[in-house]
């Protein structure tokens, strides 16, 4: 199954953030590729776990870096944006914890993946785009 997540339209015009978004989407793509390929669940599971951790670590790293950038530019919606990141990070961490506790059930991980992808795309094209508009309006050089 071919999965292509990244689209040029997701670029928000801030090179460092665009680079990290591309990296994040690449990691989500690796997770989805492992999850959605044909085959027995038990055989797919080691790769699913590995790519899940790889992706989840980058969610935390990217959000932290983006928040640092927002502080640096004095982004007025920083607190609100940080809260959105916090809530989603909690969701990702809780899901990962629940998967471990409940024995990595395929149904639950497929559901998580659907939410993850829709959330991330909306976050980039709607919430992060607001930050970009602030930068382009001259909020930062």
């Amino acid at each position: 199954m071919v999965i292509t997540l990244w689209k040029e339209k997701y670029k928000i015009g801030i090179p460092i953030v665009d680079w990290q978004h591309k990296e994040l989407f690449d990691r989500v793509e690796q997770f989805l590729t492992a999850l959605r390929k044909n085959g027995n669940w038990e055989e797919k599971l080691p790769e699913v776990k590995k790519t899940l951790v790889f992706m989840q670590n980058y969610v935390v790293t990217h959000f932290a870096n983006e928040e640092e950038y927002q502080k640096k530019i004095g982004y007025p919606d920083f607190k609100k944006h940080q809260q959105i990141h916090k809530e989603f990070t909690n969701y990702v961490m809780k899901s990962a914890h629940d998967f471990e506790q409940e024995g990595y059930k395929e149904k639950e991980i497929q559901k998580f993946a659907g939410v993850l992808l829709a959330w991330l795309i909306n976050h980039v094209v709607a919430t992060d785009l607001k930050m970009s508009k602030y930068v382009q309006k001259g909020g930062v050089s």
């Binding site: 559901k111 998580f112 659907g114 795309i121």
Partner: protein
């Protein structure tokens, strides 16, 4: 009619914005014929609580659902599995969240509950408090059944 505006406008506008930003698709309203066809539907119910109470039910026929999944993930699939239905659940959640933000601008403070997702052929029951919108995009048709009343 004015009474219906708080029911339809925020949801229509939110759907239009979310489809445009996430999917690059335009939404238009069709004349409702009371059904979205004989296809299996992904039905997502999101309850609202606060100054307004009730729920919005989003119905995405199978073909629309699979087109949306393909557009967002690049994945061709022919089944309504958990990945596809939960992705649609999150999109409905985003639309409802944006509609609630618009409602707060109309002085109705509300919160939404987590989406309840089912797959089947049943249609939402229409009553005097509900409004139905049949919407069309490049992904296909979808229906929004909005049943809200002032608390």
């Amino acid at each position: 009619m004015a009474e219906q505006k708080f029911k339809t406008n925020p949801f229509y506008d939110a759907t239009k914005d979310v489809f445009k930003s996430m999917l690059d698709m335009d939404i238009s309203e069709l004349k409702s014929n009371g059904q979205t066809g004989q296809e299996e539907n992904v039905k997502i119910e999101i309850a609202l609580v606060g100054d307004l109470s009730g729920s919005t039910i989003y119905s995405f026929p199978k073909s629309t659902t699979l087109n949306i999944v393909k557009s967002l993930s690049g994945m061709e699939t022919d089944t309504l599995d958990d990945f596809a239905t939960s992705m649609l659940g999150e999109i409905a959640n985003i639309i409802s969240g944006n509609a609630v933000t618009a409602l707060s601008g109309m002085n109705y403070k509300c919160d939404i509950k987590p989406p309840q997702i089912t797959v089947g052929n049943s249609a939402a029951n229409k009553d005097e408090n509900s409004v139905d919108m049949l919407l069309h995009s490049q992904a296909g048709v979808m229906r929004e059944h909005i049943c809200l009343a002032k608390s």
